[in-house]
Every structure is written in C-alpha cells, then in structure tokens.
Amino acid sequence: MNSVPAIAPAQAAGQRLRETLFRGATFVAALLVLLLLGGVAISLAAGSWPAFAHFKFAFLSREIWNPVTDEYGALAPVFGTLVTSLLALLLAIPVSLGIAIFLTELAPAWLKRPVGTAIELLAAVPSIIFGIWGLFVLAPVLQRHVQPWLIDVLGPLPLVGRLFQGPPFGIGVLTASFVLAIMVIPFISAVMRDVFETVPDVLKESGYGLGATTWEVIWQVVVPYSRTGMIGGIMLGMGRALGETMAVTFVIGNAHRIGSSLLAPGTTISASIANEFTEAVGDLYTSSLVALGALLFLITFTVIAAARFMLLRLDRRALSSV
C-alpha cells in the first residue's frame, strides 16, 4: 500500500524547536518593554533615595537650591515645570483646535495632505533646534517688541499686573512657554484632527440638514462628540511640555527661584537636570537631581497614562502619527 511520505520526525521536531525559539524571542522582547518602564521607575527610586532620606518631605516644599551648603528643595523647578507647561497649553490649545478644524472641515482635499504633513514635520524638528531658535531669534523679538508692551500695558493693572513686572530679559518663563507652545501644537492638533475624523458623517449631515452653519456643526456636534479624545490629546501635549528639556534649557534662564513675574528667569525640572547633572559634585547633589527626575517621571507618567487611557477608544491606526 502506498502512502504519502510524512515529514520526517526529526524535521518536525526541528520545526517545533524553531517555533519555540522564535515565539520565545518575540515574547521576551515584548516583556522587555514592560521591564524598561519598571527599570526606569526602580532606578529613579533608588537614585533619589539618599535625597529623600536626608531631606524627608521638606524636599518637596522648600525653594532653596544651594550646592555650597548642600541644601536642596524641589519647589522652584516643580513650580516652573507646571507653570511653563500650563501656559504653553493655554497658548497652544486655540491654535491646535484651529488647525484641526481647518484640516478636517475646511481645507480642500488637495491642500489637506501638504498642510497636514508640514504641521507634522514641525513635530519632527529636534528640540535642540527649537532651543537655539528660541534663544537667538524669538527671545530678542520678544524682548524688543512684546515684553515692553506687556510691561507698559498689562503691568499697571491690578492682579494681572504682577505677572508682568521687571525688566524685559528676553529669556524667562514666558519665552519658554512660548517655545513649548510651538512644540506641542503639532502633537495636539494631530490628535484633535484624528479625533474629529472619527465623528460619523451622519451626525454632521444631520446638523447641516437642520440648517446649521459649518461653525455651528463643529462647535455643537463635532466638538461635544470628540470631547474625551480632545482632552486626551491636550494631556498628551502636556506630557510633552512637562518633560521637554533642551528647548527650555536654552531660554528659561535657569534661576532656582519662584517669581510672580512671567518675564523673570526661572527653571524647570528637566532644565535643572540638563544644566547641573554633569557638574554635580557630591552624592547629595546628584541624588537631589535624580529625585527631581523621579518627580518629573511621576508627574508625566500620570498625565500621559491618563491621556492614553482617554485615547484608548480611538482607532489605534488613526494615532500612528503621534
């Protein structure tokens, strides 16, 4: 009786072995992604331990940063990080929203691609480029034309005026926020555009059918429908702004102090680390900088995780540009 020759047992075993090896390799690589995040958390915790053990909770509440007397507090950089990021968002959100509306509802088809790509390319420009541009081009312009105006016009006002006191340095908190805003615009607008594109046409058509104008459809149909995704995109942009290093380091002025004026120099967590880490002498100094890094990690992790959670609903492919 003739039968079809089966695969030799040895060959089959070889196939199975390769399958196990390959599958194992992909699994290990996937686990490595988890390990990376865990490793980052553990190494930051370990590195910052001496500082937290020495200063206790006072590390979080003190403004002092004095390498000579070896006393460190995180308040000024944390404050600077939050203020620059929030201000950047304040500037970036309206522009990003405008860009997203333009790209989804307004632009003719032939214009969508090139304009969308150009905005995305802004996100590809390395942060150090934003830094030198901010320092040598933007800061002088702000110093000469914008800041004197802010001081003259807004400075005398009650309450708001306190934000615009002092001489126009050019560099400082406001300039850093401005650069950050430009940097996060492409991220926020890309997410908003993708979110807007998930709005079912039927909903929009219903709006138009009732006689609504384009703007009314956008504001009363598209925006409410995409609210979660928009907030997710904004928080994603905030995550970028919080951790942004080089651009801020160039233009913030690196002063460990909390001032009420936005025109004064300040510092952020990442700028402090970038500026001082290689020059830090002594374990406590180094550990305090790592502790700053740990705080930044906690803050950004929370913000980014929340953002990603809000964006989970979205089609993953729609977000591949972010």
């Binding site: 690589a29 860009i99 830094g131 492409p186 104008t213 290689t278 790592v290 993953r316 492919r317």
Partner: protein, 282 residues
C-alpha cells in the same frame, strides 16, 4: 443685524480664525527653517565635514561629532530595532488580543511619550555609574531605549496591514507560525517595517538630552565605544551657548545639517507609508 446675518458672521469669523491658526503653525515651521538656512548655510564648507571640532578661536569642523552621531545612532538602532520588531511581532501575531498585550501596548504608548531626559538618567544609573565613566555605548543604549517604542508601534501597525488571507494560506500549507511570519508576513510588510526603522532613526538622531550624561562629549576624534564620544546635538548645545563666534557658526551649521537629515527621513517615510495605505500590500 438679523439673527441669520449674525450666524453667518460668526461662521466666517470662526473659519477665518482657524485658517489663521494654520497659518501661524506653518509660519513657525517656515521661520525655523529660514533661520537655520540663513545662519547655517554661510558656514557650510568642506572643512565642516573634514576637520575636528576646534578649540575656541581657531577654525575647524564637525567631523568627529558627525561621526559620533552616526555611530551612536546606528548602534542604537541596531540594538533597539530588532527588539522593537520582535516585540511588535508578538503584539501583532502571537499575543494579538491577550490581556498581557493590552498592558504592553499601553506601557509602550507611555514610553513613546516619556521625557527623553528620564531615559538619560536611567541609563546613567544603569550603565555609566557601573562602568565608572561616560561612554558612547551608554549613549547608544539610551538612544536604543528611545527607538524601541517607536519601532514596536510601527511594526505592529505594519504587520496588521498584511491581509489575513496570506497568513491563512501559509498556515493551510502546514507552516508553523514562525515560518509564516518570517517567510510570508515579514516580506509582505518589508517596506513598512523599514519605514518604521527610518522614523526611529529620525527620532533618535536629534536627541540631545539623553546623551548629555551618557555619551557626554569629546573634543577629539574617538572611535572607542567605551569612551566619551562627540555627537552633533551635544556639540550644538555646547557651541551655541558659547561666546565664541566660530563655535556659534559651527553650531548653526550642525543644526542645519541635523534638521535637514531628519526632515528628509521623515518626508521619505511618510511618502512610503501613504503609498502603502492607499496602494495596498507592498
């Protein structure tokens, strides 16, 4: 004004403002590129590519920095690329809808947006302290860690574009999954995966923060991976903030060089991706 006219007015105003917002975004891209070209082009000469970084006041180039950047980016992608591809393969093929994959995807997305300076600190604690000195390999590892989440994401997306029918056909022939993946799925998704790697290279080649305290810098030529190595971003950082005109000029030239490289890589990658998404399988 009648109610209708008011609504039309608001409509036009809002649409005009959104056009203005787009113009603002494009303006800043243009302004940055213009500044780079204006300040960088003047300093472009052959010596930029043939001479070492100079001491203050004398002439020189960026050769050691360019070399260092290329080496560290290549080593970074050689480490990070395969890991990212394998992890992406796991997510797209083996663990498609398992709970673990959902967690890994989420963590990968978080890593994708994590501040790069944190990665620098991590590698400092992990490698630099243990080795006792700054080194190019530490810099390359930091870049690899940044490249991994990018590669994971693009690989998974690209593998998902491969039609299920092709996978089924291979499985029906009796092929084990590894055979299907390496002989059918990878070739079908090849240009997409390569594009993902290009994007990862574009992402890491301009990174400065993670190199500051891993690879540090080196004023001289060094091809030793176990020693500090010059690299374009850190040289730009140091030279731009210096008071010396010749250093600042080199910083602008370096900035132009690095930005053009990255923009070309990004545009090329985008063209491939869009032709993939529209055209189909290859």
């Amino acid at each position: 004004m009648s109610r209708r006219a008011l609504r039309t007015f608001y409509n036009l105003l809002a649409l005009a403002l959104s056009g203005l917002a787009t113009a603002i975004g494009l303006f800043f891209l243009g302004a940055i590129l213009w500044t780079l070209i204006k300040n960088g082009l003047g300093g472009m000469s052959l010596s930029v590519f043939t001479d070492m970084t100079p001491p203050p006041g004398s002439s020189g180039g960026l050769l050691n920095a360019i070399y260092g950047s290329v080496v560290m980016t290549l080593v970074g992608i050689l480490i990070g690329g395969p890991v990212g591809m394998l992890a992406g393969t796991y997510l797209a093929e083996y663990g498609r809808s398992s709970r673990l994959s959902t967690v890994i995807r989420f963590v990968n997305d978080v890593l994708l947006s994590a501040p790069s300076i944190i990665i620098g600190l991590f590698v400092y604690e992990l490698l630099v302290i243990r080795m006792g000195h700054f080194s190019a390999i530490a810099g390359a590892v930091a870049l690899a860690i940044i490249a991994i989440p990018v590669t994971v994401r693009t690989t998974e997306d690209m593998l998902n574009l491969v039609p299920q029918g092709m996978k089924d056909a291979s499985t029906a022939m009796g092929a084990y999954p590894w055979r299907t993946i390496t002989s059918v799925i990878y070739p079908a998704a090849r240009s997409g995966i390569v594009t993902g790697l290009l994007l990862a290279v574009a992402r890491i080649s301009g990174e400065t923060a993670p190199l500051l305290f891993t690879a540090l810098n080196n004023q001289f030529w060094s091809s030793n991976l176990d020693a500090p190595m010059a690299n374009l971003p850190v040289v730009i950082f140091q030279f731009a903030l210096s008071p010396y005109p010749n250093w600042q000029q080199l910083a602008w030239s370096g900035a132009l060089l690095i930005t053009l490289t990255i923009l070309v890589l990004s545009v090329a990658a985008r063209i491939v991706v869009s032709s993939l998404a529209q055209g189909g399988k290859r």
